[in-house]
Symmetry: none
Subunit: 253 residues, 2 copies
């Protein structure tokens, strides 16, 4: 890990540094956007929008921590990249996902306005599956390196992952079909954005078994990829949720 940090080029270092700062600004501003917009949707969608803002708020907190951790681990001084010996804590991402991924699914369920009992049961089952998926991935991530621990925990983590994908496409299909005509496309898009952006995470997780991710180039790709995926899955997805809530509010009003 530290060897890949030490080998970062100036361009790679700057790109990561600026991407983290970009993520902080994006998540902070999207949080404010959602919370201001909360007053513009009708009562039954306010909780969905509160949670949409919470997801980006939590991500903002973690990108701030990630930025500080990166800044403490690598410094750029007198045109030279220096590794300080401080740890770059990659696990902040897991802590973030443990909170935000269940909430992202709950956002989608809330904005769909399912019957009351279904809202609660789907929130609990999908939310728990999402939390389980992250918890199972963690031991593999911190085991450090390419080994059977990473492979076993990662594979176990794929079970809830595939269950969520299945639930979104099959279990929720009838509810998606029953959405009002003017928002149905947006709901389908929100679901697809979720699943498509999520596929980046297991790809990165299992990539070390196929290609060497220890180099500085791979480190850069992974950190930038996570950052872009997080922005799409949280802020971009949140905008879709907000648009659905606004549209549904105006048709019911």
């Amino acid at each position: 890990m530290n060897s890949s940090l030490a080998n970062l080029s100036t361009e790679q270092y700057m790109l990561i540094y600026n991407a983290f700062s970009f993520a902080i600004a994006t998540f902070a501003s999207s949080t404010l956007f959602f919370w201001f917009g909360r007053s513009q949707v009708s009562n039954e969608y306010k909780t969905a929008i509160t949670i949409t803002g919470l997801v980006t708020f939590i991500a903002c907190y973690h990108y701030f921590r990630i930025f500080e951790s990166f800044d403490a681990a690598v410094t750029y001084k007198s045109n030279t990249i220096e590794v300080t010996g401080s740890m770059f804590n990659r696990a902040y991402r897991y802590v973030d996902w443990l909170l935000t991924v269940p909430l992202l699914l709950i956002e989608l369920i809330l904005v769909m306005r399912l019957p009351h009992s279904e809202t609660i049961s789907k929130s609990i089952t999908l939310g728990s599956a999402a939390a389980l998926m992250i918890v199972l991935g963690y031991p593999g991530e911190v085991s450090g390196g390419i080994n059977s621990t990473r492979f076993i925990w990662g594979s176990l983590s794929m079970i809830p992952f595939l269950y969520i994908v299945y639930s979104l496409y099959v279990g929720l299909n009838a509810s998606v079909e029953n959405q009002p005509k003017d928002v149905k496309d947006l709901v389908v898009l929100a679901r697809n954005v979720t699943v498509a952006s999520w596929f980046f995470y297991p790809i990165v997780y299992f990539a070390p078994f196929i290609v060497d991710l220890n180099g500085a180039g791979a480190f850069t790709v992974v950190e930038l990829g996570y950052t872009i995926s997080d922005i799409v899955a949280k802020a971009g997805f949140g905008v879709l949720i907000y648009m659905i809530a606004v549209r549904k509010s105006s048709t019911t009003a």
Copy 2:
């Protein structure tokens, strides 16, 4: 104490570090959730929701302090755990509980909507018992180690603890039975979550008399256990209080 910090493995250190950061994010986001949701409940439940958010706000502050204290006491540099000599202040937890535990009981009383005089009397007696419980536990905790001071103060602290458990199950039973049908299960669940999550605290308090808690493994279990108990007892319990308030608001509206 410092010997158990020095013997932490990298995995244990990371787990504690990330758990504290997770708690900060959880409490900050649940505070905002409750305070936004405050506008979605009817007037008579607004105070309960304000206090629910205050409890998680206070916990957020203390977990920030605990995180900073841990970070100052132990550093991870160049793949080595180093004890700096700074104190890891475990007493922050007592300061937190002294404020939050009485408020947690008051939340439950407020959301039950007892007659006015009973709300006040129950808040005072249960709130005072909770504060007394924490104050009595403190001298034993700071006495450091396994001795009669810890045992005597801990035992005294159990008197108000058992009084609270008794009051919740016997004294409040008639009021629980009188709750509207659609929230009665939630009120029972909230009461059970409170008592179940609280039992972790005396277990940890008295465990040193039975098993050696000085090792790094025991330190990790205790810190993670406190963190999980706090999250369940404050944020999880708060979500139940919020759900009760929302449901009762919609039936009266």
